[in-house]
Assembly symmetry: C2
Homo-oligomer: 384 residues x 2
Amino acid sequence: AETTRIAITPGDGIGPEVIAEAVRCLEVLRAKHDLALEWTRFPWPSHAWHEQHGESWPADALDQLRDYQAILLGALGDPGPADDPDRYLLSDAVSLGPLLDMRKNFDQWVCERPARLLPGARQYLKDERAKDIDMLVIRENSEGEYVSQGGRLRKGTPDEVATQLEVFTRKATDRIIRYGFDQARKRAADRLQEGRTRSFRTLDGRTCESQVCLITKRNALRHWGDMYTEAFEEISKEYPDVAVHHELVDAACMKFVQCPWAFDVVVASNLQGDILTDLAAVLSGGMGVAPSCNLNPTNPNMPSMFEPTHGSAPDIAGQGIADPTAMLFTTARMLEWLGRKDPSLALAGQELFDAMAADLAECGNQQRTSREIGDAVCKRLRGS
Amino acid sequence: AETTRIAITPGDGIGPEVIAEAVRCLEVLRAKHDLALEWTRFPWPSHAWHEQHGESWPADALDQLRDYQAILLGALGDPGPADDPDRYLLSDAVSLGPLLDMRKNFDQWVCERPARLLPGARQYLKDERAKDIDMLVIRENSEGEYVSQGGRLRKGTPDEVATQLEVFTRKATDRIIRYGFDQARKRAADRLQEGRTRSFRTLDGRTCESQVCLITKRNALRHWGDMYTEAFEEISKEYPDVAVHHELVDAACMKFVQCPWAFDVVVASNLQGDILTDLAAVLSGGMGVAPSCNLNPTNPNMPSMFEPTHGSAPDIAGQGIADPTAMLFTTARMLEWLGRKDPSLALAGQELFDAMAADLAECGNQQRTSREIGDAVCKRLRGS
Ligand SMILES: CC(C)[C@H](C(=O)O)[C@@H](O)C(=O)O
Ligand SMILES: CC(C)[C@H](C(=O)O)[C@@H](O)C(=O)O
């Protein structure tokens, strides 16, 4: 196969620490299976780069990245909960731009966030059925609430008015919904192969192997809510084998807590997806195990971008104690994605996932350094 | 005292069933304390009214309601999760308008939703500290994402574009934030009186009795996020005794699951508040115990509106098994609010809350009819 090239961007805070373990796993897998895989490490985007050059990344960064089939990102600057609002103000202004720029410029119109409560991961919910959480939240990643249109009139005065425009197109709506249905089918097929089944009821009382739940807030945000619903109703007719369901975003948050095991594929807008994926992540074990895949399924020549959902965690950065599990999960997902062109990468991705999951199941509740976790997973990879 | 007048609007589904129990409690309290309290029952807004008259309520409904000091609402049509999308489409179009109309026309610019995990209520989180959940989510209720500006261009075609404009004013931002700080102070004072304390850290390391956490999504929805943050920073200086905290809405959802007991007062925009209040409600025992108070703190001549957060639950309506606990909690909150003008009502509200909480603690996990729960609470009221 043609060599697959990955851009590695460790980023800030714990990013480089967790990326280091991912790279060690990639090395083991490459040597073991003689994979046609190469990677290049970039010092940007990052705070450090910004401090030296006055910008988060070079002017031609997007052009440089365009040559790669995937971007594996550690973590960008958002320091999370602000103990120091000034630092916060600075840091997110500086460093989150590239994340949104990559999504936009490489037309990564899907953000896929699987949420499975893997054995060994922390379980927040009391109900034992939480162990069965296995959903895929699909977030529209190209428009909607994130079009960055709006501004501040009479800024800083008591008469200020701030606006933000949400823009949704039927084209982007159709493609994300269709993507959701395709994933639902694929998941049902994968489950069948593993000898597992799930069952969901359709409106006319039949039983299906998979389900898509559409999220909107159409009782208040009527215009795009109606458009989403109409597109969903129409496209669902092409997938009579997939059960459909609607939830309002507020009710969905409740149900994620009350019965997360009842969801299969969930399709949501950019902002509502952002919120629901964080909630789904924590319910399936916390940010420590949540991958986020920004995909361009249309154009194989555009790089897709893979990042753990966690932030740069400045409070624990530099101590070597960040948990690389989410990063390894993310790396496994990346390999599976790249496997569409080179099937040996998909197998390697599956192997990495299995090793990481086995490690988590056995040692998930132990206090270990990043390095110790990386070592343990590498050892499994070598042995398996 | 001048007679306080309440408009009772039972609404749809389980609304009339839970309202019936609230009214019985009000009757007991009025007789017992000779309260200067009157109420009038309205058959609208409701589906039934709509079916007969072609509209959810009469043209002069708002004028009729304007004469009351409070509106006690059962539940409106949103049938929740749609098993039948057509019914859903119809029902929310028809029946939610009045809810938003009341909020707007009576300038109920605060939506207050207390979330306390009362003994006896269902606990979803594993962590024992969930018992200490005691937060007040304050939702901006007058603008933001809910201004209903936008539309659909080329509706129904593949080239459709749907837009929705978010509009935030500094005036409404300031007042909701200031309201949040005032509530934080009030809560600290109330706790002190009950001999309870909590402690929160300020940025400069001091310890405070209360906290306000501001929610935004300023790393993506920059314009109003920045305005909210600036207003918050400025107003917080007037309240050096209250600790401040920032969260992004996605991170806040995670932390609501990870450590809900760490929050005191939370201030959020209209949509983000809608989402967070539902999440807070379920974490503090489910919709069964969550009140929602739509308040106009500025103008005492405008009615405020009180509703349980739950919907009309058409699936269990008519069976007499709906849990009136949230409705009783809501009624207690209403009486406390009305107590600003007539202190005997505040005492009655406290009494109702205590009776309901005692009933919940003793029998919360029993299967009982609406009537049985109402009976039990009335009995406590008579006895206390
Ligand atoms: C019914 C709906 C319009 C309403 C809202 O979004 O405000 C409801 O969810 C609520 O929280 O009161
Ligand atoms: C950092 C931020 C802009 C981003 C988003 O909102 O998309 C993040 O929360 C995410 O989920 O990837």
